[in-house]
């Protein structure tokens, strides 16, 4: 009797222990799944298109019209190169055009005069030469007109204007600097293209879809921002593709006890234009994708359609086509005039 009581007590204690362990395993598994596979990451950065402004013509900078970190609208003056050389070039081209016009006038009238002479009054060779000189003079006029147009264009290019609405950043240009054609002199951050690029582990990608709503927490701001997945990166560099000896792939021998999940960039567009005070390219962010809220999420587009991924139909089409929404990538372009 005592033995059976003891057996019963031990059995109960074993069951209690196993129950607690089972609960721990269950909760631990859920927590692990949530922590490891839930689509969130602390590895996210704010990005925007960065436009490098390079003049189309070289010259000494006579005026810088903007301050560092100032906001400029599309078409606003950024800086101006001393125009004297270009004004002189325009004057010279105008004079050359007038000269060409005078020569053309004379050559044309001369050819017509010779054509009106009676047969035998002039040799065929002289007539052909006069006609050729008239044609050549007309070509010279066209050439002079083109040079004048180019001189005017160069003069126009001496005034460099902003190609986008954005912020001047890291301004080092000063009056008196020599601006070289095609060399970046100023950097603008396109204010309409702010977005977040989140680097998700590949294990989490299966839970992310284009259009899914996203909560964005910037380290710089306590206010949460909202957006949606605009596109999912379709390529990252593979180290083993680097060419080695005789252009063969340079495959590293690895000992794969420990493997790290690759990270894939996912572009997140803001639902509404965010408060610019808190946005700077390169800021750190934490993002949570909320696929479970995708059905009731309706992005509110308040900015240029080109820059923000807007409403559901477009997203549906992108999904149907298996394509990501186009978001401009950082570009380098010259600007002038």
């Amino acid at each position: 009797m005592a033995n059976s009581k003891r057996f019963f007590a031990v059995t109960l204690r074993v069951i209690a222990t196993l129950t607690v362990v089972a609960i721990a395993v269950l909760l631990g598994w859920f927590a692990w799944q949530h922590y490891v596979y839930a689509p969130w990451t602390r590895d996210a950065r704010v990005q925007a298109n960065v436009v490098n402004i390079a003049p189309e013509v070289s010259g000494t900078v006579g005026r810088v019209a903007v301050n560092d970190d100032s906001y400029v609208h599309k078409g606003d003056l950024l800086f101006a190169i001393e125009p004297v050389r270009f004004e002189n070039a325009v004057a010279e081209a105008k004079a050359a055009l007038e000269q060409a016009l005078a020569q053309e006038s004379f050559a044309t009238r001369n050819a017509r005069r010779l054509e009106r002479l009676p047969r035998g009054g002039i040799s065929t060779q002289d007539l052909q030469q006069a006609e050729s000189e008239a044609a050549s003079a007309a070509a010279s006029v066209s050439q002079a007109e083109a040079r004048l147009a180019q001189a005017k264009q160069d003069l126009d290019w001496a005034t460099v204007r902003s190609p986008v609405d954005g912020y001047v950043t890291h301004l080092l240009l000063d009056e008196g600097d020599y601006a070289t054609q095609g060399q970046s002199m100023m950097t603008l951050v396109n204010a309409d293209t702010f977005r977040v690029t989140a680097y998700f582990e590949e294990t989490k990608l299966s839970h992310i879809d284009v259009g899914d709503p996203v909560d964005i927490d910037l380290m710089a701001s306590p206010e949460p921002l909202h957006g949606h997945v605009a596109s999912i990166g379709r390529g990252i560099a593979v180290a083993n593709n680097a060419p080695g000896e005789r252009n063969l792939p340079n495959v590293d021998p690895v000992f794969q006890w420990v493997r790290l999940a690759q990270r894939v960039p996912v572009t997140i567009a803001f639902d509404s234009r965010p408060d610019m005070r808190v946005l700077t390219v390169g800021l750190s962010a934490t993002v949570h994708v909320r696929p479970e809220e995708a059905e009731r999420h309706q992005p509110v587009s308040t900015t240029d359609e080109r820059d923000m991924v807007p409403a559901a139909p477009k997203l549906e089409r992108a999904r149907a086509e298996g394509l990501a929404e186009p978001i401009d990538t950082p570009v380098t372009r010259g600007a002038g005039g």
Binding site: A16, V20, D217
Partner: protein, 67 residues
């Protein structure tokens, strides 16, 4: 929902570390109470049950307050 990181003199640590620390603290507070109430007698393997309790506390914190 808490912030996903804790600032420590300019170094931002993942929230998981905070959960670990909090769990350890709670466990240290709970264990004497369990000993005093002789709750360990209810289990066939008290140490295993203690480890399970630690995991339950940690997982619960992560699921309730985690990202």
């Amino acid at each position: 929902m808490l912030s996903e990181q804790i600032a420590f003199g300019g170094i931002y640590l993942p929230l998981f570390l905070a959960f670990l620390a909090a769990t350890g603290l709670i466990y240290l507070l709970v264990q004497p109470l369990l000993l005093r109430s002789r709750a360990h007698r209810l289990f066939w393997h008290p140490a295993l049950a203690g480890a399970a309790l630690f995991i339950i506390l940690l997982a619960s914190l992560m699921l309730v307050f985690g990202p």
